[in-house]
């Protein structure tokens, strides 16, 4: 039998490992507050939020941009924070699930998610809600099928999809008619 030698599963070993990178300064606005962070450039925005800012509402579900649990709003646009380096957010405005409510008053989508029971375990929920905020802002969704399609980047293993659509629909229906063009 062959004797495979080589790196462990994670990847390829290098002859002379590069030293860990030094920390860099990043300034950004998170949920309305100006923050200055010192993080190594290999730190994802997701890890910066969860580990450096203790904003653990943003979830890590795959770290590969495949599940949407880490969705946050950067300058109002929904993105996967696991595919964004923290240093790329320099000068940007980031909104996470912790920043959606105004004091005790929940965001209409947060209210609707509770009312429609649009989650079970709750782990994908912050990403779903941030994604839905982005979706409504984009203004492309007109029908339930549009919502389904445009929310398909956010996986829910509990299978709350019908209730997620109902929650978004509820907020969409309560909004004044959206403009047709839609921002991107």
């Amino acid at each position: 039998m062959s004797q495979p030698t080589g790196p462990a599963f994670q990847g390829h070993a290098q002859k002379q490992p590069a030293p860990p990178p030094d920390a860099m300064e990043v300034s950004l606005t998170i949920n309305g507050s100006r923050k200055t962070l010192h993080v190594a450039p290999w730190t994802s925005l997701l890890d910066a939020l969860r580990l450096h800012l203790d904003l653990t509402g943003t979830k890590k579900g795959c770290d590969h941009g495949q599940c949407g649990a880490c969705t946050v709003l950067v300058d109002g646009r929904r993105i996967n924070s696991c595919l964004t380096l923290a240093v790329m957010a320099e000068g940007r405005t980031v909104t996470t699930i912790e920043g959606l409510a105004s004091g005790d008053a929940l965001h209409p989508l947060q209210e609707a998610f509770v009312e429609q029971d649009a989650f079970q375990c709750g782990y994908c929920t912050p990403g779903q809600i941030c994604s839905a905020v982005g979706l409504l802002e984009e203004g492309h969704a007109k029908s339930d099928d549009d919502i389904r399609e445009l929310m398909s980047g956010n996986l829910c293993r509990c299978g709350a999809y019908p209730n997620i659509v109902a929650a978004i629909r509820q907020v969409m229906d309560a909004q004044p008619a959206a403009n047709d063009g839609g921002a991107s």
Partner: protein
Amino acid sequence: MIAKPTIPAPLDRPGSQIGKPVSRVDGRLKVTGGAKYAAEFNTPGLAHGYIVSSAIARGRILAIDTAKALALPGVLQVFTHENRPSLPWFDRKWKDDDAPKGSPFRPLYDATIHHALQPIALVVAESFELARYAARLIHVTYEADEHQTDLRAAKADAFTPGKDKGGFQPPPKPRGDADRALAEAEVSVDLNFSQAVEHHNPMEMHASTVIYHTDGSLTVHDKTQGPINTQTYVCNVFDLSKDSVRVISPFVGGAFGSGLRPQHQLFMAVLAATALKRSVRVELTRPQMFSFGHRPETLQRVALGAKRDGTLTAVIHEAVQETSQTENYVEVVVNWSGQQYKCDNVRLDYKLARMDTHTPLDQRAPGAAIGVPALEIAMDELAAKLGMDPLELRLKNYTEVDPNTGKPFSSKELRACFQQGAERFGWHKRSHAPRSMREGRQLVGWGMATGVWDAMQGQAVASAKLGIDGTLTVGSATADIGPGTYTAMTQIAADILGLPIEKVSFQLGDTNLPMAPLQGGSWTVSSVGSAVKAVCDRLRDKLAGLAAGLNDGPLKGLKADDLTFADGFLIAKSDPSWRLSITEVMRANDLLVLEDEARSVPYYKSQMKHALGTHSAIFAEVRVDEDLGTVQVTRVVSAVAAGRIINPKTARSQILGAVVWGIGMALEEESMIDQRLGRFMNHDFGEYHIPVNADVHDIDVIFVEEHDDIVNPLGAKGVGEIGIVGVPAAIANAIHHATGKRLCDLPITLDKILEA
């Protein structure tokens, strides 16, 4: 259109909370990011662990070179089998509450590789990124042995397991002569099935954060379906006292069975924390979520014989499932086929085959989710051969007793499921010939199937503390992996003591709370709910006694049964104007708090005389693109009989979610092994497909009325599993109706439809 929930009327009693569609009491925490999961307890000085996984499926580690990793500033240690602390030798020290017969996997125990992606080293560093980087610098030399990961080859050495796991019943002995009856049957079908490996893949990846206290004690935040199971495992493996290990897991980001056994990240985090005397977190990566238990690959044969009028004369169900080299993982796959229909000649056979994979693990409706669809697809094929309505065939062979044991069901409203489900779906409009309902290039198909699951109960203990202000805190060391346990338990407690929901809180996920069993098998409402009922009944009786003892009070001499508890008051049934508030009763007795604890024990005697189960009827509509072979499940009606429904809102969500699981099982989910490497190749969400929002359309849930005094004091059977069972069959049968193609290898991907 989104289907509206069917909500049975709440019990006709003032202040009643059971049966109300209450929104989740933990909902606000979950929509604001306030709910903390295992990897979210941050603490100063937290170190981060990253696991290195084996590149081979079987063999030995000849050398692990950790020098480059250790040379990096900030790397604290690399743990391997070569430098690990002393660990117990006896298997029993590694057992947990869900362990089957055999030797549990021991991480970092020695140089032996048992399965691909086996954890072989843990790098601990000051930061997550550094640990991840350092893990890439570890160089491993292996000696690989031949591996066996092909079930079709391994089944040559299949063996019949014994009663190798809690809750497992080997198949009953044959009834009559099924093989002869099959040969002599007027009409028969004989089908072979395969079910692919599925990985649980909860959205939250398995993680453990271990907080190390200066006195050496640990607080463990673990992704688990049973905090006590985690505590017992940690204490046994690391020789720690129960006093020094507290597990706190208030929220679990889904599990579906993956948290029934302690996973290796828990071992790694505790190992590092105790060795380094530091707080440590270890979180698996998504690919590493394919490195432990899974729904086992299964091969089945179902053969049915019948008379021309549809009367079943023969049922044969054989299954071979994968297990590991070290443990006998078993689940009930074939027994259901002897229970579902009346038939005099039945032969059921269940075998295991050993492979070089991690031991499989219970996954939502283990066994039934695989075995029942095979039977139900065969029933559909039989109906097609008979030219009979598939629903009619099921009614023709309906049974009111469990033919496996001869015992009557404690309750079985399956007929009502068939009737109400068919009506809601419009089943009578079905034209029964395959390919008869096309719309252009879209082939429309309607299929149906039956589902069945157990109604189990275990022992549990709950505590309750009532304050003079009428606030009630109830607790039990169960989990809430998503079904809504916080909410259901709060409702049960509020209902019994007649308190508003807002006045009641339920605590769980903490080993300082009284004992609860693992959350699984749909038995939490039954087990923990009955304990909550028991302790609240006691407080109710105590309050009644205190009120009755107040000589100048309006309730003097009355008993608990003479009183109604509503809105924080004790009210005489005979004259509702005679009432006292809880506060008044406690103040008059100089009490600030009233506390108690109670254990609930199943009604063993009456349960022994009955078969207990939940039942369902599923109707599905698919549209198959004739050119592309793509399948859309456009409509599902699931009618469920599961006793009393504590919360129709959260219960409906469980059925919705389980139907989504059924769609995944029927059409998408498959962990594929590269047999040359013995490794799952599609180990991420890009390649392992679970249903996305666009895959899910109308799902309509019906809970039929079902009364049951035998299952438990609540009459509630639990709904976590029943929703998935049968769904893959309803979809496969709908695909047959649409295309005329009988597909028995799940998942039914488009290539199979185009090739058939």
